[in-house]
C-alpha cells in the first residue's frame, strides 16, 4: 500500500530512488529519509527490542527517535543509525536492528577531517528563533556561524504547513537563508550537529557532508567533518522535542509522536497510516489530527487527558468528524506487530473502550533541548507548567532562544531569537542595525502547555519508559523498591536514558515517574547530567586525518634517504626513525650486527647520530647553570674541551646524559639523548625562567641545525684525514675529549673526539644541509677500509661492551648515578646541584641498592633475553620468588667471542664474581657477575 500523498513535501517526485530494507526492495524520492520512505511503503516495523525482542517502529521524525535503529550495509557497513536521520539515496541497503550494530570487517575507505572556525556569534539551530538570531547578528557585521542538523533550514517549520506573513513558511525561510549566505562573514552549515559545548566558547559540530550522496559520494571529499568552532557568543536555538506518555504496550509499531506524524506529512508527503487515534495532553496534537484528516487519514478520535478540550479546536475537529474525548487516556494497545486497537478509558478509572486503528499519535508535551546549555554549565530549572527542565539562568556568553526556553509560540520564539542575536552581537562588540521583522504565523494551534502526565496507570511490565533499553515502569519500581533514591542510581539500575538516544524523549518522563514513585517534587531534583556528544559521532570523524602516515609525525634526519636506499631497517625512537641495522642479503639482526660490530672494532664504521639533542648555551652564567644541572663540574671545563655529564631530577634519579662542549668562555654546546632532547631543553628553560631568572644564560636548540656522524674505529683517523686535509688528526694535536672547527669534505665542520664505543672515534658535525653529502664523502673515503655503516643496535652493543649505560634502558627512574657506578661523575666539591640532596636520603644509602654490573652466562653461547629477572638460587622456590634485579641489555659479542649482558642487581657491586641464576623459560641459566666494563678495560683503544 502506498502512503505517499499526491502532493506536498520537500521531495523530488520526479526522481525515483531504489533501496533495500530487510531484504525487500522499495522506492523513495530524493528528500526522503529512510524512515519516511519506509512509511511511504507502509513499513512501520523497523527492528526489534534489545532485551525482549518486541517489534519496534518509528516514533519520531528526527534525531530524537528512540527506536528506528538500522544497520547500513551498502555502500559501506555502518552500525546503529536512526532511519529518521539517514537521507535516502539510490542503492541504499539497510536492515533493522535488535539493539546491536555490526562493524565492517574491511577498512573504511572514506576520508574524514576537521576544521577550525572562529566567529563572533554562533547560532545553533536554524528554526525561526535561530534564523532571526543569525540574521540579526549578521546584519550587525559580526562573523556568524549558523549550524543546523537538518539538510535544510527551517527547524520546526519544516514539519508544518503554516504560512508566515501570508506566504508559505518555506519562502520566509529561503529569504532569510539567502540573505545570510550572501552576507560576508557568515557561514551557514547544514547537516551539521553541534554535539559538544566546552569552555571558552569552544563548540564541536559534526557535519555529514557526503552520506546523502550514497554511492555517488566523491572519494576526495571528507565524508564527515568535525568543526572546531571557537566563538565569542553563542545563541542556542535548539528547539524542543515532543515527548510521549507512558501507557501499557506503548511500544508497538504504529505508535508515533503527533508532531512527527505531521512532519512526515508536510516534509515528506507521507501519511503515517490510514486510521489514527490521537492521544494528547496539550493543544499541539490537534493540529496534527486536523492536518492528517485533511490529507485523508481517518481520525476517529482524539483522546485528551485534560478535563476539558480546547473549545475552538474541538469545534474544528467536530467539523471534520473527529470525536474529542476529554478527560480520557489511552490505557493500552493491541496488535501482533503494528498496533491494531487502542484502549481508551477515563483518566482515573472507568470502562475502557476499544478503538480500531493502525496508528496511534501521542503527545505528552514538549521537552526543550537543553543539552548544550547544560554542557556549558548552565543551570536548569524545572518548569512545572511545561513539565520539563528549562534553562534557569543567563550565561555571559550563551543565550537561549525559541522553544529551547520552553516558549512555544512562533512569533515569541522569533522575538527571543532577535533579542538573543542582538545581545550576542553587542556583547561581541557589534551594533545591530535595525530590527529584523518578526514573522506571524497562521497556525491554528495556539501554543499552550497542557497537562503534565508522565504515565497512565496500567500494566507496569509493558509500560515502557525507555523503549530502546526495554526499561519499563516495573523496572523503575523495582529500583525504588530496592532502596535506590537518587535518579542517577535508578538510571543505572534500569539503564534508562543510557541508550543510543541518550534519553531525549524518555529522560524527562523517567524523572517524572521516579519522582512520583519516590513522592518527591521534581523541582527539588537535580536533572541527570547532560554529557557530550548530543548525538553520536563516528570514531573516524573524531580521528579525522591523523591516520596512517599522518597519525604521528615521522621525524627523519638529513641522511635518511641514504639509509632507506641502503636497506636499513628502522627503529622508532620517539617520533624519529633511526637506522636499526643494515642487513645484507641473507642476514638477520644478529648476523648484521656481528658484522657491523666487527668492522667497526677492526677497521672503521659510522652511524647517523643526528637525532642527538643539541642545545647551545650562551651567557656569563652558563657554567654556573650547568654546574647546577649536571652532577659533575662543568664550569672548570676548558675551552676546546669536552666532558661527559649526567643529569638527575630533584629526586636524585638519572634523567639524562650526554657531552658538554666548551665552545667559548661564555658558550657551551650540550648534547642530550635522542628521546629527551625536547624534555631537557624544557627542563633548562623551566629552571632558568621560573627559578633562576637572574642567571645570564640563554638556551637555543640546534638539534636539527647539525647533522652528526660518529666515525668510529681504528681507521677512523685515516678516513677523517682524507676528508679533512686541513685538520691535524694526530693524537697529540687532536686529543681525546677535545674538538676542532675545520672543513670536512669542503664544508665547515665541528669535529669532536669522543667515543661511545671505546674505539678511536670522531663525531663530525656539519649543517644538516650538508649531512647527506658529507656522509657520502665519508663512505667514499672509507671505502678502502671497508667502512661500514651501522645502526642503533650495533651502537648499543659497542657501548655495552664498554659498560656504558643507555638512559631509559639501563635506567628506569629508580637509578642513581652511583647505582650506575658513576660516582666519579658526581661532584664532591659542588655545594649543590639538582638531585644532590636526595642522595642523602635513607633509601639512597642502603647497601643493597640495585647496581649496574656485567653478567656472563656460564655457557658463553647462551643469550639471556633482555628483561630476564635474576635470582640467587639454582632452584626456584614457590612464588613469590625473591628477585635480585633484571637484565637490561644482552648481546652476542664479536669482540668478546661470547654473549654478555648488563644488569641491575641488588648489591651488584659486592657480588662481582658470584654466580647467580636467570630463569629463562623453564630453566635457570647460571651467570657470573662481573664488572660492567667487559672490553678494553684499560682504555687502550680509544687513542687508536
Amino acid at each position: 500500500m502506498n502512503y505517499r500523498t499526491p502532493t506536498g513535501g520537500a521531495i523530488d517526485r520526479n526522481t525515483v530512488l531504489r533501496f533495500t530494507f530487510n531484504g525487500q526492495s522499495y522506492t523513495g524520492h530524493p528528500g526522503d529519509t529512510l524512515a519516511s520512505a519506509l512509511l511511504a511503503n507502509g513499513v512501520h516495523e523497523v527492528g526489534s527490542s534489545v532485551k525482549l525482542g518486541r517489534p519496534r517502529g518509528i516514533v519520531a521524525a528526527g534525531s530524537e527517535d528512540p527506536t528506528s535503529l538500522v544497520q547500513i550495509e551498502a555502500p559501506f557497513p555502518e552500525p546503529m543509525l536512526l532511519a529518521t536521520t539517514v537521507e535516502l539515496y539510490d542503492g541504499l541497503v539497510a536492515r533493522g536492528l535488535a539493539g546491536q550494530g555490526r562493524l565492517a570487517n574491511e577498512p573504511d575507505p572514506a576520508r574524514y577531517d576537521a576544521k577550525h572556525e572562529h566567529c563572533d556569534v554562533l547560532v545553533v539551530g536554524a528554526g525561526p528563533a535561530g534564523l532571526v538570531a543569525a540574521l540579526t547578528a549578521a546584519r550587525s557585521g559580526a562573523r556568524v556561524v549558523l549550524v543546523d542538523e537538518q539538510n535544510q533550514a527551517g527547524g520546526a517549520l519544516l514539519g508544518v504547513d503554516e504560512y508566515l506573513d501570508d506566504r508559505p513558511s518555506a519562502e520566509w525561510v529561503a529569504d532569510v537563508v539567502a540573505e545570510l549566505k550572501s552576507t560576508p562573514g557568515v557561514l551557514v552549515l547544514e547537516r551539521t550537529t553541534a554535539f559538544g559545548m566546552y569552555q571558552d566558547g569552544f563548540v564541536l559540530a559534526l557535519q555529514k557532508r557526503t552520506d546523502h550522496l550514497g554511492f555517488a559520494a566523491p572519494a576526495s571529499v571528507a565524508r564527515q567533518r568535525v568543526w572546531r568552532i571557537r566563538t565569542r557568543q553563542t545563541v542556542l536555538a535548539t528547539g524542543a522535542h515532543e515527548r510521549p506518555v507512558v501507557f501499557a504496550d506503548n511500544d508497538r509499531p504504529g505508535i508515533m509522536l503527533a508532531s512527527s506524524a505531521r512532519t512526515f506529512r508536510h516534509r515528506y508527503g507521507v501519511l503515517p497510516g490510514s486510521r489514527a487515534v490521537v492521544f494528547t495532553t496539550n493543544d499541539s496534537a490537534y493540529c496534527a489530527a486536523i492536518d492528517l484528516a485533511e490529507s485523508g487519514v481517518d481520525i476517529p478520535l482524539i483522546v485528551d487527558a485534560r478535563a476539558s478540550a480546547p473549545s475552538r479546536l474541538a469545534t474544528e475537529c467536530a467539523a471534520r468528524g473527529i470525536e474529542v474525548r476529554a478527560g480520557h487516556v489511552v490505557t493500552g494497545t493491541e496488535g501482533s506487530g503494528r498496533v491494531t486497537d487502542v484502549h481508551v478509558a477515563p483518566l482515573g478509572s472507568g470502562h475502557a473502550d476499544t478503538v480500531v486503528c493502525d496508528t496511534l499519535l501521542v503527545s505528552g508535551g514538549w521537552n526543550p533541548v537543553v543539552s548544550l546549555f547544560s554542557q556549558a554549565r548552565g543551570k536548569l530549572r524545572y518548569d512545572s507548567e511545561l513539565g520539563a527542565f528549562v534553562p534557569g539562568e543567563e550565561l555571559e556568553t550563551v543565550r537561549v532562544a525559541g522553544s529551547a526556553t520552553g516558549e512555544l509560540d512562533l512569533t515569541a520564539c522569533a522575538r527571543q531569537g532577535r533579542n538573543a542575536g542582538a545581545a550576542a552581537a553587542i556583547a561581541a562588540g557589534f551594533t545591530p542595525s535595525g530590527q529584523v521583522p518578526l514573522p506571524t504565523s497562521d497556525s491554528r494551534c495556539t501554543a499552550r502547555s497542557g497537562l503534565v502526565l508522565w504515565r497512565v496507570p496500567g500494566a507496569e511490565d509493558s509500560s515502557f519508559v525507555d523503549l530502546q533499553r526495554d526499561a519499563t515502569v516495573s523496572d523503575v519500581l523495582r529500583a525504588t523498591g530496592a532502596g535506590l533514591r537518587s535518579l542517577e542510581h535508578i538510571k543505572r539500575y534500569t539503564t534508562i536514558g543510557t541508550a543510543h538516544d541518550q534519553g531525549k524523549t524518555s529522560g524527562m518522563i523517567a524523572a517524572g515517574i521516579v519522582a512520583e514513585a519516590l513522592g518527591v517534587e521534581l523541582a527539588d531534583q537535580r536533572p541527570t547530567t547532560f554529557r557530550p556528544p548530543y548525538t553520536s559521532v563516528s570514531f573516524a570523524a573524531l580521528a579525522g586525518r591523523d591516520r596512517g602516515e599522518l597519525h604521528d609525525p615521522v621525524r627523519v634526519t638529513a641522511i635518511h634517504p641514504w639509509h632507506v636506499e641502503h636497506g636499513a631497517l628502522f627503529e622508532d625512537v620517539g617520533q624519529w626513525k633511526r637506522p636499526w641495522y643494515y642487513p645484507q642479503p641473507g642476514e638477520d639482526l644478529h648476523a648484521a650486527v656481528l658484522r657491523e660490530c666487527q668492522a667497526t672494532r677492526e677497521s672503521v664504521g659510522m652511524m647517523d647520530g643526528s637525532t642527538l639533542g643539541k642545545i647551545d648555551l650562551q651567557g656569563s652564567d652558563a657554567g654556573k647553570f650547568l654546574d647546577m644541572l649536571y652532577t659533575n663540574m662543568m664550569s672548570t671545563l676548558k675551552v676546546g674541551k669536552i666532558r661527559y655529564g649526567v643529569m638527575c631530577g630533584v629526586d636524585g634519579m638519572v634523567i639524562d646524559d650526554g657531552t658538554v662542549i666548551r665552545v667559548g668562555e661564555e658558550r657551551y654546546l650540550v648534547t642530550t639523548t635522542t628521546g629527551n632532547a625536547a624534555k631537557i631543553l624544557d627542563w633548562m628553560e623551566e629552571w632558568l625562567q621560573t627559578e633562576w631568572p637572574h642567571l645570564d644564560v640563554h638556551c637555543t636548540s640546534v638539534t636539527e641545525h647539525w647533522a652528526t656522524i660518529p666515525l668510529v674505529g681504528p681507521r677512523s683517523r685515516d678516513v677523517l684525514a682524507a676528508v679533512a686535509p686541513s685538520l691535524d688528526v694526530s693524537n697529540e694535536a687532536f686529543e681525546f675529549m677535545t674538538w676542532h672547527d675545520t672543513e670536512v669534505a669542503g664544508v665547515p665542520a665541528r669535529v669532536c673526539r669522543i667515543s661511545f664505543s671505546g674505539e678511536l672515534a670522531y663525531e663530525i658535525n656539519v649543517t644538516a644541509w650538508h649531512g647527506l653529502a658529507v656522509w657520502e664523502a665519508l663512505m667514499a673515503a672509507g671505502a678502502v677500509y671497508g667502512i661500514t655503516p651501522y645502526g642503533t643496535e650495533t651502537m648499543h652493543v659497542l657501548r655495552a661492551e664498554k659498560g656504558y649505560p643507555i638512559i631509559g634502558q639501563e635506567t628506569d627512574a629508580t637509578v642513581t648515578p652511583q647505582d650506575l657506578g658513576m660516582s666519579w661523575a658526581v661532584s664532591k666539591k659542588k655545594p649543590d646541584f639538582i638531585g644532590k640532596r636526595s642522595f642523602a636520603r635513607a633509601e639512597n644509602n642502603r647497601t643493597d641498592r640495585k647496581q649496574l654490573v656485567g653478567l656472563l652466562p656460564v655457557d658463553p653461547s647462551v643469550l639471556l633475553p633482555e628483561g630476564s629477572q635474576i635470582v640467587e638460587t639454582d632452584r626456584l622456590p614457590e612464588p613469590p620468588v625473591r628477585m635480585l634485579g633484571h637484565v637490561t641489555s644482552s648481546y652476542p659479542s664479536a669482540a668478546l667471542g661470547r654473549t654478555f649482558a648488563l644488569a641491575l642487581v641488588r648489591s651488584g657491586h659486592e657480588r662481582i664474581g658470584e654466580t647467580l641464576y636467570v630463569p629463562v623459560d623453564d630453566s635457570l641459566v647460571p651467570v657470573t657477575v662481573t664488572d660492567s666494563v667487559l672490553y678494553d678495560k684499560e682504555g687502550a683503544r680509544r687513542d687508536g
Binding site: H116, A768, E776
Partner: protein, 192 residues
C-alpha cells in the same frame, strides 16, 4: 671536494604544487639566526646593525634592508627573535650582531628549520584544517607572525600577503608537513 647541500624538502621539490588549492614552494638555505636579547637599547642597536627595526609587538615580524639586503625579524618571544635573510649570509650577520655589545645570545640556526611559502585562494581553508589560530585578516593581518601548531607539528607562521603565508618548520618535521598539506589540499581539488 665540496659537498653539495640538500634541503629538507628536496624530495618534494616537484610535488609542492597543490593546485588549485594552493601553491607551495620551499625557500631553502635561508640564513637564520636566533637572537636572545631583552634590553631595549641592545635590541635597537642590533636592528641598526641589520637595517631593520626589531618587532616590539608580540606575534609580529618586521622587514628592513641594510648591509645584508632584505632582512626579516620574527618575534618568537619576549626576548627571542629570528633573523631571516638571503642564503649564505649567516656568518657575516652573526659577526655583525656579535659586534654589538649586548647581554644575550646569537645562534646560527639556519638549518634548524626550512621555509615554505604558501599562496592561493584556499590557503586559509587548508591551514584551518590544522591550525587553531584565527587567520581571518581581521585577526591576523599581514605582518602577523605566530608560533603555533599545525596538525601535529610546531610551526612559525608569517602572514606575508593577502593570501600568502610563510611557514617555518623544523627540518625533521618538514616531510610530515608536506605530506599533511598534500593530503589537506585534496579536498580543494588537488590531486595527491
Amino acid at each position: 671536494m665540496t659537498a653539495d647541500p640538500t634541503s629538507p624538502l628536496a624530495a618534494w621539490t616537484d610535488r609542492l604544487t597543490f593546485a588549485p588549492a594552493l601553491i607551495a614552494s620551499e625557500r631553502p638555505f635561508l640564513s637564520q639566526l636566533t637572537v636572545r636579547v631583552s634590553d631595549p637599547d641592545a635590541v635597537a642597536a642590533l636592528g641598526s646593525a641589520l637595517g631593520v627595526v626589531f618587532p616590539s609587538v608580540p606575534c609580529t615580524f618586521t622587514t628592513g634592508s641594510g648591509p645584508f639586503g632584505a632582512v626579516e625579524v620574527l618575534w618568537l618571544g619576549p626576548d627571542e627573535f629570528l633573523v631571516v635573510a638571503a642564503p649564505d649570509l649567516q656568518l657575516p650577520i652573526e659577526d655583525a650582531l656579535r659586534a654589538v655589545p649586548f647581554k644575550g645570545s646569537v645562534v646560527d640556526t639556519s638549518a634548524q628549520r626550512t621555509t615554505l611559502v604558501l599562496e592561493g585562494s584556499h590557503v586559509r581553508d587548508v591551514l584551518a584544517h590544522g591550525c587553531s589560530v584565527d587567520l581571518h585578516p581581521s585577526s591576523a593581518p599581514v605582518g602577523t607572525c605566530v608560533q603555533t601548531l599545525l596538525a601535529r607539528t610546531g610551526i612559525i607562521l608569517q602572514v606575508t600577503g593577502p593570501d600568502r603565508f610563510t611557514i617555518l618548520v623544523r627540518s625533521s618535521f618538514a616531510q610530515y608537513l608536506a605530506a599533511w598539506l598534500s593530503d589537506a589540499c585534496v579536498e580543494y581539488g588537488a590531486v595527491p
